[in-house]
Amino acid sequence: MSTTDITKNPKWEAVIGLEVHAQIRTNSKLFCGCPITFGAEANSQTCPVCSGMPGTLPVINKKAVDLAIRLGLAIGSDIHDQSIFARKNYFYPDLPNGYQISQFDKPLCTGGGIWIEGKDVPRRWIRMTRIHMENDAGKSSHGEDGYSLVDLNRSGVALCEIVSEPDMRSPAEAMSYMKSLRSILRYTEVSDGNMEEGSFRCDANISVRPRGQKKLGTKTELKNMNSFRFVGQALNYEIQRHIDVLEAGGVIEQDTRLWDTRKQVSVFMRSKEDAHDYRYFPEPDLLPLRVSPERIEQVRATLPELADARSQRYQQEFSLPAYDAGVLTAEKALAEYFEAGAAELGGAPAKVKSLSNWIMGDVLRRCKDESLEVTAIPLPPHRLVQLIGLIDDDVISGKIAKKLFDALWEEDGDPMAIVTERGWVQVSDTGAIDEVISRILAAHPSEVEQFRGGKVKLKGFFVGQVMREMRGQGNPKLVNQRLSALLEGQD
């Protein structure tokens, strides 16, 4: 099937809204004190409350509320002083109470928005509809013997559901939105945004309409897209399916569909008529959730500067290219690493740019090679700054700098001491350089002859010979300069 850029389609426009479920990073569940450890033995992290025993009652986890408020503040939502939990009723074996405790017509946060930006995505503002809190269900696994097993370890885990307006126009924008949102969740430490562990899940509402038409087309809802890549694939598929149906004169039915990652198709799950009647009503076991202005201000005080604001600031303060600023701010820990280094450098743009190059290049490469989290970078930023200083001061060559970088990555130490101790100091003494050059020229009379006869390409040969003789420690600029002078006999 086609994956052409829908934004370039002259006839059709895609409209996408996303619902993200993010696991709120608390130590215990939303309505009971059970711990949350991914991968624990089935049903080992349960209690009478989260396993739905008779007579048990939910009690709200205050930390989870504070984190949801923090997310709301981070995306500029209105935080409501009173929100209501509601029961969402449906039967399923991994839903022990027979209802989920969610928020329905009075959610904690409404409004706000986030910026998206990316390689194929122009900078755009995506509006948010709402953020509400709810508890997760357990996990069912269906055996081949006709029986299913239920694990309630996840049951009661705190989630926030983050609903966007239908403001995205392409799968690329949707993916960019998810990346931005995930970055905000991680910056604010509201969620670790880990898709593999199910702490960041996404459903999409998709419709297609003739370009220029205001009225939205009929939407379908797509579920089960558990990686960024699948979101892109699934949205591309579904948009094209809509267009194919519409162009064939057909009608889109308002269905809920599942993304089949193996067959790469969306498959029918249920129609609008089969949709559950969840019979929402206010949860009588919980009082309305009241949030005082003081509490909101306390949470606001804990809010870090977010990726987008940081990226804008780096571009202004350090004259960094947008690309560099984007890479450096993608993770809060990396941005903090960079900023510590930039502060050591006094913020001078030229020096900061070489810091940026080192971080985007060698630092991230080694992190990737060694599957290291940014928080676990063994090389402290001030050492990297010292290394850059040695290059700028002509103490070491760029080539030696790579060796020094590797040495410092393996073991901390004073860069200057290492360079001295290992004899890596660059030779910038013109007398010493001239002496080596003279020897090399004397040893290769015919090459000298050819060079002087016009074969100037041979200069590289001489540079190589001299550097080899100097074990790479000759100051390359000076070696070049002196070679030119001596070869051309101008000295």
């Binding site: 109470n97 019979r279 009588p284």
Partner: protein, 479 residues
């Protein structure tokens, strides 16, 4: 033999009896009156062991409080660790909780002895105790009559003098109405006064655990032991527990007592005089007619809201984790749900689940659930207006004395109407209690209800104690 807490306490204090002999006596009495069918589970061994401990503590001068060594019966919808808690339902016939309800653990801490689990209407749904999967409870005053419901067993065991105290639960009158029909004192505290943690939910916004005793002071003492904030129940308020049991009869204090017109209209002459005779004879009481204009909506409002909440509260009984599981070979998930719930629940429970599910359904929510919420607000407002004029309200607890078994079972509406005087206070979350009034021509007690503003249990008990004394004087004359 006396069944008043104060007298049993005095006997324990001065060594006339021991907890062990109290428990032994209660076990024997329960055995002798087993035809009442008031207990679903006995806790004999544990109760005797607890009595022994209580006696040993007392011998060492260690008395935990007024309930030390006193046997208390617990309605079987209140969870007791290690002791079967059935809610009088087939569904939970073999359910043994791994935890105590907060009220039960508070009783244990106060030295009280968990004596046994009392029969009730299934999941507390009923007004006659005829909806129990374990059979009806009989009224100790007349074995042909119902004890009231849903806490019929808890009322009957106090009326039959098996134990001095018991706990019930009141959603729309389930403590007060059986207290009335059995001639004992029963209290529904202000909503939020007592923790619901461990009380198996029926109508969560209405349910409250409440005490039964043979007199006002006994009930007040038991309430003191179980009331107060609980971190396990967000709806349990941070309100101090007061010394309600220190209530004394003080006829020198003037009190304005409201008589809701809507509760007295259409009463038979016998019913009317059962209410008015004691009130009119009391010193220092000014009777004021008040109006609660939305009373007519109360029963419908209650059955919509309580059933709606019940339809969700009972969804957890799905046959997956505990309770009845009916699974024919090859049955799928839906078949397991349907078969387990069809066989596990009795007809009244099914009726209310259906009613509540309907009231919450898309397209009907506004007409039923939302409308009922509005009516509830109006009813609450009625009481606020009334309490602006008076200190307490008084009424009959139920429109009749105990009725015969089977007389209303085929007419749910008539059965629901027996809650007419108790339901409004439940909807408003007010404290209310029933105490025995005069006896009717058959010798069955009338129940007198006292209602007070939110958190005003003190005013309620103060007036109830005076009314109790007045009734005692008149009963003396009556006999």
């Amino acid at each position: 033999m006396s069944n008043h807490l104060s007298e049993l306490r005095a006997d324990l204090d001065n060594g006339k009896t021991t907890s062990t002999s109290l428990v032994e006596g209660a076990l024997q009495s329960a055995q002798e009156q087993s035809q009442l069918n008031a207990f679903i589970s006995m806790n004999a061994d544990q109760a005797l062991a607890a009595a022994k401990t209580a006696d040993e503590e007392r011998a060492q001068g260690q008395v935990r409080g007024p309930l030390h060594g006193i046997p208390v019966a617990i309605k079987d919808n209140i969870c007791t660790q290690g002791l079967r808690t059935t809610c009088a339902s087939r569904f939970l016939e073999n359910f043994v909780p791994g935890y105590d309800a907060t009220v039960v653990s508070r009783l244990r801490q106060s030295g009280a002895i968990i004596f046994g689990k009392t029969n009730c209407d299934e999941f507390a749904m009923g007004s006659s105790n005829e909806n129990s999967a374990f059979g009806p409870v009989l009224n100790p005053h007349d074995l042909n009559c119902v004890p009231g419901g849903s806490s019929g067993g808890s009322a009957a065991v106090v009326a039959a003098k098996i134990v001095p105290l018991s706990l019930g639960s009141d959603t729309g009158g389930s403590v007060r109405q059986p207290a009335a029909l059995c001639g004992v004192v029963g209290v529904k505290p202000t909503y939020g006064r007592v923790s619901r943690n461990g009380l198996v939910a029926f109508g969560s916004s209405l349910d409250q655990v409440g005490p039964f005793a043979s007199d006002v002071v006994g009930a007040a003492t038991l309430l003191e032991a179980i009331a107060g904030p609980d971190p396990m129940d967000s709806t349990c308020a941070d309100r101090p527990t007061l010394a309600w049991s220190e209530v004394t009869v003080d006829d020198s204090q003037p009190v304005r007592v409201g008589l809701p017109r809507e509760y007295t209209e259409g009463l038979s002459e016998a019913a009317r005089s059962a209410l008015l005779e004691p009130l009119e004879a009391m010193d220092g009481v000014e009777l004021v007619e008040v109006s609660l204009p939305h009373t007519d909506f109360a029963i419908a409002t209650y059955y919509v809201l309580a059933s709606a909440e019940a339809s969700a509260n009972l969804a957890r009984y799905d046959g997956i984790r505990y309770g009845v599981r009916v699974q024919e070979p090859g049955a799928g998930l839906d078949e397991v749900y349907v078969a387990s719930r069809s066989q596990g629940f009795g007809p009244e429970v099914k009726r209310r689940i259906m009613l509540g599910t309907f009231a919450l359904s898309a397209g009907y929510y506004d007409a039923y659930y939302a409308k009922a919420c509005q009516a509830r607000d109006a009813i609450r407002k009625d009481f606020e207006d009334a309490f602006a004029q008076v200190d307490v309200l008084a009424s009959l607890t139920a429109p009749s004395t105990a009725f015969e078994l089977g007389s209303k079972t085929n007419d749910p509406i008539s059965m629901y109407l027996s809650d007419i005087f108790t339901v409004p206070a439940s909807l408003a979350g007010l404290p209310a209690m029933s105490l025995p009034g005069r006896l009717d021509a058959r010798g069955l007690p009338w129940g007198l209800q006292v209602l007070a503003p939110h958190w005003e249990e003190s005013a309620m008990f103060r007036f109830a104690a005076r009314l109790e004394a007045q009734v005692a004087r008149q009963r003396g004359e009556q006999q």
